[in-house]
C-alpha cells in the first residue's frame, strides 16, 4: 500500500511540474492564435509623387495587434491596382516591431513609366480608386515562428 501511495505522490509531483510548462505553453498558444487571427490593417495614407515620367508611391498602413505579445514585421508584399488596372507588385524586407495596439508602418515604391500611363489615364478620368492587396509576414517571439496575414484596402484620390 505504501509503495502505491509513493508512486502516486511521485506522479502528482511530475504532473504539477509538467502542468506548469503546459500552462505557459497554452498561454503562448492562445497569444499566437490571437495574433494570427485578429491582426487588422487599415490604409491611412497613400501619396503619389511624380518624378518625370515615373512616380513614387508612399503607403502608410495602420497595424492593429490585438494580442499581448510584441510582433515584428518580416516582409511586406503587395499588389497595387488603380481603377481596376494592375500597376505594381513588390516584396520588401521591412523590420518593424508591432507592440500590442496600433502601429503605423510606412513603405514606398517606384512606379515605372508604362504603369504610370495608366495612373495618368485614371487621373484624367477624374477619380483614382487605388486598391492594395497587402500581405504581411510577421515574426512571433517563439523560435522564429512566422505568420502570413493580409488585407485588401482601398484609397480614393479625387
Amino acid at each position: 500500500m505504501k509503495k502505491e501511495n509513493t508512486i502516486l505522490l511521485i506522479l502528482l509531483f511530475w504532473a504539477l511540474l509538467s502542468g506548469g510548462f503546459l500552462y505557459t505553453t497554452l498561454v503562448h498558444y492562445v497569444q499566437a492564435a490571437e495574433a494570427s487571427h485578429g491582426m487588422e490593417y487599415e490604409l491611412v495614407d497613400l501619396q503619389l509623387k511624380e518624378k518625370g515620367d515615373q512616380g513614387e508611391l508612399t503607403v502608410r498602413v495602420k497595424c492593429i495587434n490585438p494580442s499581448s505579445i510584441v510582433l515584428r514585421t518580416f516582409q511586406v508584399r503587395y499588389l497595387l491596382y488603380v481603377n481596376g488596372r494592375f500597376i505594381k507588385s513588390d516584396a520588401l524586407y521591412l523590420t518593424q516591431t508591432l507592440p500590442p495596439g496600433e502601429t503605423i508602418i510606412q513603405f514606398s515604391g517606384e512606379i515605372h513609366r508604362y504603369p504610370m500611363e495608366y495612373v495618368n489615364e485614371a487621373r484624367e478620368y477624374g477619380k483614382m480608386i487605388w486598391m492594395i492587396e497587402l500581405e504581411l509576414v510577421l515574426e512571433l517571439p517563439f523560435r522564429g515562428l512566422r505568420l502570413n496575414t493580409g488585407a485588401v484596402e482601398y484609397w480614393v484620390m479625387e
Binding site: E4, A15, S18, Y29, R143
Partner: protein, 137 residues
C-alpha cells in the same frame, strides 16, 4: 457501493487517480510535441513523451498488479490522454479565437490519435518490461 469493501474502494480510487495523473502527464508531453515551436518545455519532447510512456507502463504494473487489468488501465490512460490532448489543443477555439496556425479540431484529433496509438504501444512495452522484471523476482 454495498458490493465494494473499503479496501476495494480505496484501490479503485487509487487506480482512477493513477489513470488521470498518467493521462495528464502524457497529454502535457504530447502538447509540447505538437506545439514544438511555441512550447516553454526545454528540449527533447519526443524522448520525454515516449520515455514517460515507458515509465508509466512500468508503474502500471506496480500499481495495478494484475496483467489483464494492467492492459485495461493502459488502454484507459491512452483514451483519456487522447481526449485531454484534443481539448488542450482546441483551447483557442473554445475561447472564440480561430487560429490560422493550424486547422484546429481535425488536426488536434488526428495528431493526438497518432500519438495515442504510439503511446499505447510504448505503455504496453513498459508493461511487458515490468512483468518480466517482477515475475523473475
Amino acid at each position: 457501493m454495498m458490493f465494494f469493501s473499503v479496501e476495494d474502494r480505496s484501490r479503485l480510487l487509487r487506480n482512477i487517480a493513477f489513470v488521470f495523473l498518467a493521462a495528464f502527464i502524457l497529454s502535457a508531453f504530447t502538447i509540447f510535441l505538437m506545439l514544438e515551436r511555441i512550447t516553454t518545455f526545454p528540449h527533447y519532447n519526443m524522448s520525454f513523451l515516449f520515455g514517460s510512456g515507458l515509465i508509466l507502463g512500468y508503474l502500471t504494473v506496480l500499481v495495478v498488479k494484475d496483467i489483464r487489468k494492467s492492459f485495461l488501465v493502459c488502454l484507459v490512460i491512452v483514451i483519456v490522454t487522447f481526449v485531454l490532448t484534443s481539448l488542450f489543443y482546441s483551447i483557442p477555439s473554445f475561447l472564440g479565437i480561430n487560429p490560422d496556425l493550424e486547422p484546429v479540431l481535425f488536426s488536434a484529433l488526428g495528431w493526438s490519435m497518432i500519438y495515442s496509438i504510439l503511446l499505447l504501444m510504448v505503455l504496453f512495452f513498459g508493461l511487458v518490461i515490468g512483468f518480466i522484471l517482477h515475475s523473475t523476482k
